[in-house]
Every structure is written in structure tokens, then in C-alpha cells.
Symmetry: C2
Subunit: 235 residues, 2 copies
């Protein structure tokens, strides 16, 4: 059975790394002894080793050993044999470029379809959608394609940000950007606020966390979805 957690962010303001997800992940990964970490998004340009070490620190508390995918010569085989996969945040353009370079998209898709539990945060969540076309990241690398894993049949906007009241900045709001996306792309976009996540169990997709999420559909006004909402039919 497909088992996926798609988190808006790894870290909440004033919180520790993955801290708010600890109870959820303890349960989600309860039979897992070793996890493959995909460090390619490199937040702040951190090295693959440093990033993996940070993640290993968190999972040590859950008695889960962490191996960075970059350590494996045969990365496809590492994904095929993984007990669990976690893709961390950073820059989505860099992450997707690397996934294409190592031919990993199909391998991850297949592993997840076959029941390997997958956790994504931020950029690692972006790639769970149909395309990376609703990332907030800067295009610092040119990927061969914007198509991503399609673990859900819509797009994600992690770190969803409401318009800032009283702002005098003239750059587009997040909502305007997503509306522009819908001029060229049909799929729905789920704006996940920091602290929210999606739980995918088989065909069932549920909004979790304390906050509502904002749903954007082509040709419709955006709506707020309460936590607990069932998104299984969303396209």
C-alpha cells in the first residue's frame, strides 16, 4: 500500500528540525530500521554529507539509521532496496536536476507504489506533485523537465504564504502566482501552510496538522480546506 507524508516544511519557527512531526513519524516509520535520505536539494548550499548528518541526528531518536543516497554508487538499486525514503528540502530546481541526472524519478515512483514509505518536506514535497511548476524556489539550475513524481494527482505549494497585510512590496503575492499558473496548467494546486502535511495511505489523501490549507482550482475562486479534509478525489 502506498504510504506517503508530504510536509510543508521541515521546521516550524522556534522549533527543532522535524520536531513537530515526531509523533507522526514515530508511528509512520515504526517498522523501519534504515532510511535512505535524498540530500540533493542542499538548503543553503550545505554539503550532502552535512545534510545527511543533520537528518541522522533526528532519526537516531527514532532508532532509525540514515544513509545518504549520494553515498551509493548504484543509486537506483539503493532506492529499490530502501526500507523507507526521505527527501529533504532546499532548492527544487537543484533537486529535480539531480533526480533526472541519476534517472531516479521512475525508481522512486515505483518504490512508493510498491509500498516503500516516503517522507517529503518542502522541496521533497514539491516533487510529490505532477510537476514542480508551483515551487517557490529560485531557478538556480536548469532541469531537463519540470515533471515530477506525481504521487498525488495535483500540484503542491509548500510554505504557502498568505498576503502580508500592509506590505508595500509590489512583487506578486503567492496567490497571484498560483492564479497565473492556472492560465497555462489545468491541475489543482494545494497551498500547504507551514505546520500542515498530507497523509497518503493507499488511495486516501488526508490533510493533517492544525491549520487549514488553501486550494486553487483552474477557473474557480480559491477555497480554505479544514484539517482532516479528504483530498483523495482531487485532480
Amino acid at each position: 500500500m502506498k504510504r506517503v507524508i508530504i510536509a510543508s516544511t521541515s521546521t516550524l519557527y522556534n522549533g527543532g528540525y522535524l520536531e513537530y512531526l515526531k509523533p507522526t513519524l514515530t508511528d509512520f516509520f515504526k517498522d523501519v530500521k534504515q532510511l535512505i535520505f535524498v540530500p540533493f536539494a542542499r538548503p543553503g548550499g550545505i554539503s550532502h554529507d552535512e545534510y545527511t548528518e543533520k537528518v541522522a541526528g533526528f532519526f537516531a531518536d527514532l532508532n532509525i539509521a540514515v544513509k545518504g543516497l549520494h553515498e551509493f554508487e548504484n543509486k537506483i538499486e539503493a532506492i529499490e532496496n530502501a526500507q523507507a525514503i526521505f527527501t529533504g528540502g532546499g532548492n527544487t530546481f537543484v533537486l529535480v536536476s539531480m533526480l533526472y541526472k541519476f534517472n531516479l524519478l521512475d525508481a522512486i515512483q515505483n518504490a512508493v507504489e510498491n509500498g516503500t514509505p516516503y517522507l517529503g518536506s518542502s522541496a521533497g514535497s514539491n516533487i510529490c506533485g505532477l510537476t514542480m511548476g508551483t515551487t517557490n524556489d529560485m531557478p538556480i539550475m536548469y532541469p531537463p523537465n519540470f515533471r515530477t513524481l506525481g504521487l498525488v494527482s495535483f500540484n503542491l505549494n509548500p510554505h504557502y504564504l498568505d498576503p502580508i497585510e500592509g506590505s508595500t512590496h509590489m512583487g506578486e503575492t503567492r496567490e497571484t502566482r498560483i492564479k497565473e499558473f492556472h492560465h497555462y496548467n489545468p491541475q489543482s494546486v494545494l497551498g500547504l501552510r507551514e505546520g500542515s502535511w498530507l497523509e497518503v495511505l493507499g488511495d486516501k489523501i488526508t490533510l493533517k496538522g492544525e491549520l487549514p490549507a488553501r486550494l486553487f482550482q483552474q477557473g474557480k475562486e480559491p477555497i480554505e480546506l479544514e484539517t482532516g479534509s479528504d483530498l483523495s478525489e482531487l485532480k
Copy 2:
């Protein structure tokens, strides 16, 4: 002689469209009777016609007639024959996709090198740099390449935004994003705050407007540049 104005934004908070640039543009375009407008970035998804009409409204006051580039069957010829070119803001990914689709990058480059005055704002400024790799826009369309006009030998970040004091949002600051860019790309990046612009006259590049700009160079700490700074040697 090359003559270019690269503006951070078309509009200041509480200001009219291009209003703050009116004295500058009156002088810059003083021998121009007709201007070709490139409307492809479509801010908020506005149509090419509507966008061109908005721009024509501003330039009517300067006694300059505006024709949208979309109206021409032979767009390359239209650029070659243009008295002046203005590329408006919107989504940089859409703009660059269209410029490649119609094979316009070389045509605009050549026209500008041959002395056709060029005005860019926001997305229209982004494309004046070596690549579009430091745009703030959402990747809602997949362009065949990130390479852009290279009218200056560095990259631009229009709508440059300082970190928001007291923000609890965990998405990357603009500064962090540009630092990540420098992990993979060597060229300098100029963060142009709203209200600033660059004036390019031949080989001379000058920072204009009331605000300082923020300069990011690979392997160095960012620095503030006062208005009036000479950027002719920047790479």
C-alpha cells in the same frame, strides 16, 4: 550606442504605472515616435491586447505611439525596424518561453547593440542579465533555456526584498536564495530594490534612483552600492 534602462519595478506602492520613471523616460525616449511593446510576460494573466493598451496609456502622455509585438506576423522584422523596445513585467518563465518560441533573443540583442533604446521592467529587466536564474517568479512554463539577453555581464534580481524583520515564515530569504545561486553559477547578481534602475549608455552602467542596491558576488559577503555607483566593470 547601446542605450538601456533596467528598472526593478514598473510601479511603486501608491504610484501610477511607470510614474516614478516619467522624467527619465521623457528624456530617454525623446526622439522616439513609436515604440514596440513586448507584452509576453502577461502579469496576472492579462491578455496581450489589454497589457499593450495599459502601456499605450502611459506613453500617450509622452507622444509615443505603442504597438504590441504580438500584433506583428513577422516579429523579428518588427524588432529590427523598431525605434524603441519596452519589455514589461509579469512572469519571466512565460516571457522567456515566448522569446525562444519566436526566436527573438538574438533579434533584440542585435537591435540593442545597434542602438535601439530598450526599457525593461521587472521580468523585462530580468532578461537583460546573462540568465533568468535569479528571477523571483514561479516556473509556470518550461522555457527551452534559461539564457537571456546578456545586455549586462551579470544577473539581475528585480523587486529585491530585504529580510522581513520579525517574520516567522521559514521559507528562504531572498539573500539565501541568491547565495544558493552562487553555489552553481559564477556571475554577480545585483539586487535592485523597487524604485532603483540601471542606466546603460554604451559601456557605462550606472545605478539610478534613490535607494542603494545590494550586490552579491560569488565567495564574497554582499555589499550595498550607493545610487550613482558605476557598474561598468561588474561581471
